[in-house]
Subunit: 442 residues, 2 copies
């Protein structure tokens, strides 16, 4: 294992580094699979709503264009393609029998604004590459005991309509009819956008898969964190996807004139909130959960007014719902105690709670075997701190995920970078994992 | 002295209390001066740009209306009125000789939005009332050795054009020609507004007083703080007007994904800023200066992003510039140390620095004698934490101020409340002070 050479450089220089540069001298690009996968990531990056930078969102002309491009790749890999009722591009390699169950493999092609080239995309292009290997073998008379279906979701990030994971939720059969009335920034509803895209909104429920006929779902994804890099590992075995709770906290004191309100009479909502921010961070670190106060504002603040009202957000993630909720309880108790001491009122509004998703033990074992086959005898286990399409699928079918190291954990940023040799290992690991699943299914 | 009965009530109930309610049972409204003064404060409160609530700003139809109303009161008090080149209404009682110097007396009639009835207004109506007493005496053949000129400034708060103290700065001869290009919220320049009001902008410099011909400037004002109430005092002797420094601090870390950025890699601008807010407050309290962080925002913050940039303001006031600047130095050093420890960058931009203004010892002695004459043998001295027209005048002439107790320090708020008997004391104190100044001048 080579040491990543980036640590001695500045962040700016690191970010300008491309994925190709990041291949260390002497690293061979394996069978060439990574070369094609990376070239395809570069090609889809040219489809963008931004003049400089990458942005592809749900049901736009960019969505149409990336579906068209990926469908070409799928067909050249020997897959039968269709766009489902939620706009997800699907490419199928039939199994040994017409009624064989399905192993799904995929990720998403939509992005955040000013995105990188790999978040989601690598999982789709890698899935197509691996499927092509099994398509060749099927043509040679060695079909899999299940159909292999590659999925290219059109909405994971939720940028356009706010609700996330729309493609995978449609597949899981958990589409919420209220979403039809969600509007984008220009006031277009989701229903109107679906119709404009050529979809029949009322048929979106037909995108749902049959759990009885589903072997499972495998997703490869860049880590979006630096844990693999720090441990000098190319690949990681995902154990769960963190459940998240998102809160808005309002701290209410009393606005008063800066000059005319002595300290003893102040009920300063910002001083209380500052103590709370520090306490929340401390509790998060002590408990080994991930907590972030990402937004904080003095409401109706003015330079010469003692803050009367502060609003801030809390984003809380943990390996298990139990860890997460225990940290939540301690944070809220501390918050209330801080506010009580300072004669402040506090209200907490939870506007998002996603249960964590545990990866399926059998599928995990297959992924572990895949990683071991690349020469890493002690695969690193980690949980995903970010949400993924696999979360939605986990509600109805077994799922597992394979993480690929990315440079410095940078993601949602043009600086996303992965190494060719890591991608080759990921392709090989996925292939081995699928063979193991096939062995067990046989 | 009666204990203020408000402490046992809720803030809401206190705020609904009117000035009339606040007269304790048994308190006699003295010679009736306070009754008229308070009634006039009620009358001018009806002039407002807001449907519910009080707002009067510079060079508006409300400014025209309050000048017209106050000019009637001045004339009925026996004063000769004119509107000066900056829109300040002036009412003059001539002195014993045509070339007698002038003692100025006044405050402002403009307000903040949703204002109270007394901030500024009480100083104008009290000045008119006191002047009427001297006008009566002059008619009886006892003129003062100086002219008495009552000033009703049209801009102290700076609400419309951002720059404050426009009326008194014109009088002090410190009008800045750059101000002509300042714009209000509708894009009207100060120059255009002056012309629309009927003023010749290029003649604004003619509003300047002749310091050689000026005895001084006396201003009565509500305290806008609770110190007098807490000390059970009706009146206070102002020693200085706090110098202020106003800063914007920018703390820069690195934005990162909430899920993908481990604690050890975070450069969280909000955690650093929270420590800074707490330290700034602590230093302010330890040093006996008044410091407020009134605005704080995570720039481009999002619920799932580690804050990369935070901006907050600091408002710093102290009895003397030396106290203020020593506190400033300690705060900035602490801020830099906090940011250095956390690998954050920090920049500090000072966008306002007003030197403190010391009250004139002789005029202060006159005000003290005035307060003693009301029966308070040990007048309370305090410094003004808020800015006043007297600050502008202090640059060219001696000034002093008399504070009147206001309920709970509430100001810039419909809850502003003063007691009739306190106003009567203020009128008597002003009258005595002016007599003492006359004695010394004779």
């Amino acid at each position: 294992m080579t040491q990543t050479p980036a640590n001695s450089e500045t962040a700016g220089a690191r970010r300008r580094k491309t994925a190709v540069d990041a291949v260390p001298p002497g690293a061979e690009p394996g069978q060439g699979g990574a070369r094609r996968v990376m070239a395809r990531c570069d090609e889809v990056a040219l489809i963008s709503a931004m003049e400089h930078g990458i942005e592809r969102t749900y049901l736009t002309s960019q969505h149409k264009a990336h579906n068209r491009l990926a469908a070409q790749w799928m067909r050249s890999a020997g897959l039968q393609t269709r766009v489902d009722e939620a706009g997800t591009l699907r490419g199928r390699l039939p199994g040994a029998t017409p009624d064989a169950p399905v192993l799904y493999l995929g990720s998403h092609l939509d992005t955040v604004p000013d995105a990188g080239k790999y978040d989601g995309i690598l999982g789709v292009t890698a899935a197509i590459e691996v499927a092509s290997r099994f398509a060749e073998r099927a043509q040679a008379g060695e079909p899999l005991p299940f159909a292999l279906e590659v999925l290219a979701f059109g909405d994971e990030e939720g940028v356009r309509f706010g609700a996330t994971l729309l493609g995978s939720r449609a597949m899981a059969g958990t589409w919420d009819p209220d979403w039809f009335e969600l509007k984008d920034a220009r006031g277009v509803t989701l229903r109107e956008a679906m119709e404009e895209f050529g979809l029949d909104p009322d048929r979106v429920y037909d995108a749902a898969i049959d759990p009885e006929q589903t072997v499972g779902y495998l997703e490869a994804h860049i880590e979006q964190g630096p844990y693999l890099q720090d441990a000098d590992k190319a690949l990681g075995l995902v154990t769960s996807i963190a459940g998240a709770r998102r809160l808005t906290v309002t701290v209410i004191g009393e606005a008063g004139h800066a000059g005319g309100t002595p300290y003893g009479r102040r009920r300063d909502a910002l001083i209380g909130s500052s103590h709370a921010v520090i306490a929340i961070d401390r509790i998060g670190q002590e408990r080994g959960v991930i907590v972030t106060v990402g937004e904080l504002t003095v409401v109706d603040g003015a330079i010469n007014v003692v803050p009367g009202r502060v609003e801030f957000t809390i984003d809380l993630r943990a390996a298990t719902d139990e860890d997460r909720d225990a940290a939540y309880d301690e944070m809220i108790a501390e918050l209330q105690s801080i506010c009580l001491d300072r004669d402040l009122q506090v209200t907490v509004h939870e506007h998002h709670r996603a249960p964590g998703a545990l990866c399926d033990p059998e599928l995990m074992e297959a992924v572990r075997e895949g990683i071991v086959a690349t020469g890493d005898e002690e695969p690193m286990s980690l949980y995903s701190k970010a949400g993924h399409d696999a979360m939605a699928i986990a509600e109805v079918a077994p799922m597992a995920m394979l993480f690929t190291r990315c440079l410095d954990g940078i993601s949602h940023n043009p600086g996303e970078s992965v190494r060719h040799d890591d991608v080759d290992r990921a392709l090989d690991a996925l292939e081995t994992a699928i063979r193991r699943i096939a062995r067990n299914a046989a």
